[in-house]
Amino acid sequence: MLCACSGEQFKFEDAPQSPESLATRDFSASGLSSRTGEWESKLDDVQVDEAESTLKEALSLNYEEARALLGRLEYQRGNFDAALQVFQGIDIKGLTPRMTRAIVERTRQRKPRSKGDIISSSVMSMHSVSLLLEAILLKAKSLEELGHFRDAAKECNIILEVVEAAFPNGMHEGIAEDCKLQEMFHKALELLPNLWKKAGFLSEAITAYRRVLVKPWNLDPLRKANVQKDLAATLLYGGVETSLPAHLQVWGSATPNGNMEEAILLLLILMQKVAYGEIEWDADVMDHLTFAFTVTGQFELLASFVEQALPGIYERANRWYLLALCYAAAGQNEVALNLLKKVSGQSEAKHKPHIPALLFGAKLSSQDAKHAHHGITFARNVIDLADQVNEHFKGQAHKFLGVCYGNAARISISDSERALFQKESLASLNSAALNMKEDPELVFNLSFENAVQRNLDVAFENAMAYSNMVSEDSGRGWRLLALILSADRRFRDAETILEFSLDEVGSLDQLELLRLRAVLQIAQEQPKEAIETYRILLSLIQAQREPQSNNSESAKNSDLENVAERKIEMAAWQDLAAIYTKVGSWRDAEICVNKAKSVELYSPKSWHTSGLLFEAQSLYKEALVSFSIALSIEPDYVPSIVSTAIVLIQLGSQSSLPIARSFLMNALRLEPTNHDAWMNLGLISKLEGSLEQAAEYFQAAYELEMSAPVEAFK
């Protein structure tokens, strides 16, 4: 004989005797046998007459219970329409208060054997309540199967209301454990938000999720975590801002303000559960977190979670790659590079090479000259894996290789090595161009490298191509173009370019270009115009610093931009000092130098400018002091090295000439194209009487000066 209620099979000692309806017989049989524990406790706790009236009461519920059982039958068979029809016959509304009361009464902590503690006969049994709740749940699920999601949600909601009314503060452990009430309730809790989502009411879904989570309902930790995850996802992607109801906003500053904050809170809680071992690692949670943190720019925090993951979740090289991505995105390129070096290190030698990591390493290395050699290694590794890499990535590798070789040439201390690196640089860049003609970065680098190597025609072509290609971020293209033109002595053209570009570029680029215009004017011996340009430049900087009336705390510029701006300001003062020095206005020059030093004291150029000022006033000792301060800040600061030599030559004594020469040779080692150094070498040779040698030096100086840009290509 099957018990329809619990679906379990039971054996009965005796056949049921009464000839009443099937439902009745079932109920009494099940009442007797399935819940034997409950029955026995009833006999213990309650008077016999109480037991009788309970049964009577039970008999009068038969109608609803019969419907519930029949409905379940239909549902299990997949006849959802029929099931619905059956369920419609149950008067849920009328029963809900009784159900709530029943739950309250029957789950109260029982005081042992107190006389006054009698459960009234009209109270439903827990079993009945469970049955009815199941009926409502199945009704909701039938509606769901038939596509009536909103109605299903409303039905499902009833279950929640019944139980929540009985337990306004949530369910503690141990309450209602051994009957199906809790199970039905949990299913309803999880079903309701899904129904609302299917019905397209995301706001209601979010509210439903919150209902599950804000009070304790004895939900299994894994299921609870899933609900938290689903709520986080709905908050993150739903696109419907649903603020917390007032009664939940009592947590002060800890109240999440907005969907994104709430989602992040939930995801952090889930990650904490993973960390404490309460739940398993869930890749979905990590992906949601990655998305949320990338959108909100919290890359370092994201990195900490990647690090927290236990070994085995990520492949080692991949973990380093992800960490490198996070740190690079956070602007910490050094950290990223260190991680990427590990990827190509010894420990990974036996594993398949991680090409994206290598390429990324090459890219980051190419952005700073001091990583030039690492970049060369990264790029070469990618290129050597020829058949595993597609054409595009090979092209990228060649590009980064070219840039790194160029950087390596600039930091090289050996002439022959420098020549080699420069050759390799152009070779790599040209090789990349075979694959990637349309890449603006590549075109810019081709122009730049050729410019540095004084191949001005090629440089010019590429610079023009670059400026035509990009409309965004074009400032550096215009600048390079202007510099190339200036190296070609086409000053008017350079100025035209600057005029045009000043309209197009952003404010920081504008400052750079204005300064370049002033430098051009100086080069064309137009000090008055240059001073005027500097005046404009400095007043622009001043205007940007002015506190805006409607900007309370937010800085207008980022930190990087502020630093760059200050650099330009300092450069402007330094240039002005140089102009005034040249025209003999010592006081003005001194004021400008001091202004420059007030922006940044430890700038070699500021001290160098002081030195030039002293030199112009024939105060050679003071000049030497200033130059040596500049060199103590930056030992390889070529202008000061050359200027020291020049002063030594001026001092004229026999012993100072060889010292001067050694300074100049040092300068040329660092910067072989420095025409001032060549010229002064010529002077020394002339003073020493080697006229032919002097002539050669002067020739070299002349040729270099003829193709020198007004300012170093950088």
Partner: protein
């Protein structure tokens, strides 16, 4: 029936070939205008026309005027077309055509946001788990120190801009997309599909056109919209497929550019998309256990 909606529809009738009577005589004309497929199809098609973005284009004029109407529902109508406007605009920059019409609309949207945000950035607070919240109890002793705010900026403060410049373009278009996102739950699915299609174009480029530069100011709001299209709305298969395609394109593009932020963001969306499209991987706890099935 709002008079601005009526006059708005009247003007539109002179631009389009026909405005269906279901819209013009509807009891809620703004809503009908937003959702009517005939009107949307025609406006979309006109916006894609080769000369659509010029300063004297009357459709652009209509969109601009409609956005400035006092009826907030009508603003939604304009927002619905942001994907096409932004998409066509960005793809045509390289062609150096006159795009003053589009720029006027985009600047209007930007100005609206600038005023609405009143000089404040859009930020969220990353919570400190050592303080309890509605969803958890703090582990260990609760420190009573005031929690320092860990502010994460989603969108920095806006500077007012009256004109379009190449250095601001990405930011202005990005802000228009941010505005679109705030109303995305009210946008018809077709509009979102158009957005996904444009993501494909931006990412990969079409044969003869250059790819569009995708700085973070443009990419970040795009990814939020894409995340919604992919994982937020549950009911449109067409939208999910369009969003999947766009996610793959943007992911490939981020690898191509070796852009760390983009790789992280699009990579996570791609993995989530795989989970979402494979039903075997999701567990439904609400299933009734059918193992004890009756047979009478």
């Amino acid at each position: 029936m709002s008079s601005s909606a009526t006059s708005c529809i009247q003007t539109l009738s002179s631009i389009l070939s026909a405005v269906p009577s279901s819209v013009s005589s509807s009891s809620n004309p703004s809503f009908s205008l937003l959702h009517d497929p005939t009107v949307s199809a025609e406006i979309s098609s006109l916006l894609r026309h080769p000369d659509s973005g010029s300063g004297d284009n009357n459709l652009c004029r209509w969109l601009y005027d409609t956005f400035y109407s006092t009826d907030p529902e009508l603003k939604l109508v304009v927002l619905r077309y942001v994907p096409i406007i932004a998409g066509v605009y960005l793809t045509r920059i390289a062609l150096r055509k006159s795009l003053a019409g589009f720029e006027a609309i985009l600047l209007a949207l930007y100005a609206h946001e600038t005023t609405a945000r009143d000089g404040q950035p859009v930020s969220v607070n990353v919570p400190d788990l050592s303080q309890p919240s509605i969803y958890h109890d703090a582990k260990g002793s609760v420190k009573n120190k005031t929690t320092e705010l860990n502010l994460a900026v989603i969108s920095p403060t806006l500077e007012p801009h009256g004109t379009m410049r190449s250095s601001r373009r990405a930011r202005i278009v990005g802000v228009a997309l941010e505005l679109y996102y705030t109303k995305i739950s009210q946008m018809p699915a077709r509009s979102k599909v158009e957005f996904c299609e444009f993501c494909d174009i931006w990412a990969a480029g079409v044969k003869n056109e250059r790819r569009i530069p995708l700085p973070w100011e443009l990419l970040q709001p795009s990814l939020r919209i894409l995340g919604h299209c992919l994982l937020g709305s549950h009911n449109s298969k067409e939208l999910f497929e369009a969003a999947s395609s766009a996610t793959v394109s943007l992911y490939r593009r981020s690898l191509h550019d070796i852009d760390a932020k983009a790789i992280l963001a699009t990579g996570s969306l791609l993995r989530l998309e795989k989970m979402a499209s494979d039903p075997k991987l999701s567990v439904d706890h609400t299933e009734i256990d059918m193992s004890n099935v009756l047979s009478l």
